[in-house]
């Protein structure tokens, strides 16, 4: 006999299996939580509360990857082995990058979640994304300096792929527009930022683009503020989840934020629905990703049934109204074009509010078309 059998999808009325692999524990657990809340709200919205597409129930299987790609790959293989044709999730970029090839090898649909790495875009035919990517952040950042020609731009980023990607994007986007881009890099494990703040200050940039994620962000901002960097130049960075706002401290009001999303950034039908559905009633950074993922899943099932190729076709070029507004899945590389925002923080202590300064449409913030790899 065969050493291994793969269960196949059942008949018409059989439930549709959807596997959700994301961080329930580990360092990104709170991103994961927003993602799943958003997903459930989105599913509710897209199925009009029935949880069914036609007469087929969407059967969710959730699994925790604890941020470890090895674990994510294991559960993804397990799900695929059990006949799951749609996998969504991936809170961290590492997980997204390693699950994407699995999807391609096994011809199942993979809808990556909050993972921001550009490398997921165009990873392969079966991989889509429901969130934004680093490039869109950087394009939004460019909108802060108007005419970039002969401006001096410094990127401050942590070592590693996240920093590399941001640096490369800034060089291409803002440098491409005529600015003079240089970079200051620091180890992600750094606890003392004075040397880097001094280097930045010495460079006297017109615009400082900061790409920093992790638990040391608070210390980093404080140091930049104390060394007078925030006062001397325009500083742009991504606005993280709401819980992190107080960690900016006094620096918060001096930074120009580019934002993927925050509560109140949009007022679409989807946003209202999501707000009504998520626990606590306040939307946050990654709720739209989960919401969009659910919308894409429902679309894929509606149009494709059990046929993954059809699902892919149905999604490519699809335009829909998400939490953030008009979204479009670019057919060439599966980038998700979506509105992006400029924001300001105001307030102090633990009570901060964010307000939109400007929004960019999906086309305005579109990343360049990536070569589809597989």
């Amino acid at each position: 006999g065969s050493p291994q059998d793969t269960a196949s999808g059942g008949g018409d009325a059989a439930p549709v299996k959807v596997g959700l692999v994301y961080s329930q524990s580990g360092p990104l657990a709170s991103y994961g939580k927003q993602y799943i809340e958003g997903f459930k709200a989105g599913l509710d919205f897209a199925t009009e509360g029935t949880g069914k597409v036609g007469d087929r129930t969407i059967e969710l299987t959730e699994a925790d990857d604890a941020g470890d790609p090895a674990k994510a790959v294991s559960v993804a293989k397990d799900m695929i082995g059990k006949g799951t044709k749609i996998i969504a999730g991936s809170t961290s970029s590492g997980v997204a990058l390693q699950v994407a090839p699995i999807a391609a090898q096994n011809k199942v649909l993979f809808i990556s979640g909050p993972a921001a790495t550009d490398a997921v875009t165009g990873a392969n035919k079966y991989t889509f994304r429901s969130g934004r990517q680093s490039w869109q952040d950087v394009v939004t950042a460019r909108s802060f300096i108007g005419d970039a020609a002969d401006k001096k731009v410094v990127v401050f980023a942590q070592d590693g792929a996240f920093g590399d990607a941001n640096e490369a994007a800034v060089k291409a986007v803002i440098g491409g527009a005529g600015a003079n881009v240089s970079s200051v890099r620091a180890p992600a494990s750094a606890t003392e930022f004075t040397p880097f703040a001094s280097q930045i200050k010495a460079a006297k940039p017109d615009l400082l683009f900061v790409a920093w994620a992790g638990t040391t962000a608070g210390a980093m901002w404080q140091t930049l503020d104390q060394q007078g960097v925030l006062a001397s130049t325009t500083v742009v960075t991504g606005l993280d989840i709401r819980a992190s706002w107080p960690t900016f401290g006094a620096a918060g009001t001096k930074i120009s934020f580019l934002s993927h999303y925050f509560d109140g950034a949009s007022d679409t039908e989807a946003a209202k629905a999501a707000k009504a559905k998520v626990p606590g009633g306040t939307l946050d950074l990654f709720h739209p990703d989960g919401f969009a993922a659910a919308q894409m899943v429902v679309r894929a099932v509606q149009e494709g049934g059990d046929d993954v190729e059809k699902m892919v076709q149905a999604l490519e070029g699809w335009e829909f109204e998400g939490v953030k507004g008009a979204m479009k899945i670019r057919a060439e590389d599966h980038a998700l074009l979506q509105p992006m925002y400029q924001a300001k923080l105001s307030g102090s202590g633990t009570a901060f509010t964010a307000t939109v300064q400007k929004s960019l449409t999906g086309d305005e913030s579109a990343p360049p078309v990536a070569q589809m790899k597989g």
């Binding site: 200051v184 180890p187 606890t191 004075t194 880097f196 638990t215 210390a219 104390q226 007078g228």
Partner: protein, 296 residues
């Protein structure tokens, strides 16, 4: 010029943080021979207890006396957990090095996960006095007050530890015990009590590092202790196990090296240099800079 001053002072701030973590680690290793991988947990407990106290403990708060009270509470909590760990987990395993390593590794995993289960993985803003966010101008350099606070605290702790070792009876017992544990018992002294005490002190110093580290970073998160621990270990080994003064020297060396190399060299080189320093010191002097003597 003012870059050098700035780097020196902030490097010393970093050194102060390392020293606070390392001193307890070093004493515990010197006297009780315990390689304590759970030391980072004490730091986490101190930080979270301080954070908790300033929001919930009557009288405590982010400012003035309330802040002092919160820190005191944090330090006591760290110390209490350390004592508990010593009494319940370590004591039955004295002189079984490998088992101790396992237990403390297990404890560090479980403890950090527990903090995370209780307060979440995300960094939380740390309550702190406003002046700690400001800078002081020293010779033209804008030196963060939190760093200065760390330096002051480390100097106070160093002084207090030395005074404790030098002038108090238990300090005497610890110094004697590092030299010859057996003879201390032969004088009718229960040396295990000194072990417990050393854990209490180590826990308190680590908790203080946690609380002041919280001020310095502005946030508190469950993994904070772990990432400092590896450098603290390096400091302990370079300084010589059991030597408080050795730890102080080593902490300064490591802090300054990291800071200057990070500025003048490329990023990440500072960490590599520190590890290189460790390897060189160990190959040349396996017992560390100061050997194994509790200096007074």
């Amino acid at each position: 010029m003012n870059t050098v001053v700035l780097l020196t002072l902030t490097g010393l701030g970093l050194a102060a943080l390392y020293f606070l973590v390392a001193s307890g680690l070093s004493l515990v290793f010197g006297l009780a021979d315990v390689l304590n991988f759970a030391h980072g947990l004490f730091l986490g407990v101190g930080a979270y207890a301080t954070w908790w106290a300033s929001g919930n403990l009557p009288g405590a708060g982010p400012d003035g006396f309330g802040f002092v009270l919160a820190v005191v509470f944090g330090v006591l909590a760290g110390s209490f957990v350390a004592v508990l760990v010593e009494l319940v987990l370590i004591r039955p395993l004295y002189s079984r090095t490998i088992e101790q390593v396992l237990v403390t590794v297990g404890l560090s995993l479980a403890g950090v996960a527990l903090l995370q289960a209780t307060w979440g993985a995300d960094p939380r803003p740390f309550p702190r006095p406003d002046w700690s966010r400001d800078v002081t101008s020293v010779l033209g350099a804008q030196v963060p007050n939190a760093g200065l606070l760390l330096i002051v605290a480390a100097v106070v702790v160093l002084g207090a530890l030395l005074a404790f070792l030098r002038w108090t009876r238990y300090g005497l017992i610890i110094r004697a015990g590092v030299e010859n544990r057996e003879m201390v018992t032969a004088l009718g002294i229960d040396v295990r009590k000194a072990f417990t005490l050393v854990f209490a002190i180590g826990g308190a110093a680590a908790a203080l590092a946690g609380a002041l580290g919280g001020v310095y970073f502005g946030t508190v998160s469950p993994g904070q202790g772990g990432s400092l621990l590896i450098f603290a270990f390096i400091v302990v080994v370079i300084g010589g196990m059991g030597s408080v003064v050795g730890s102080a020297y080593a902490a300064v060396a490591v802090g300054l090296l990291q800071q200057f190399v990070n500025y003048y060299g490329t990023s990440g080189l500072g960490d590599l240099c520190v590890v290189g320093l460790l390897a060189v010191v160990l190959l040349l002097r396996p017992q560390g800079l100061a050997g194994k003597v509790a200096h007074a």
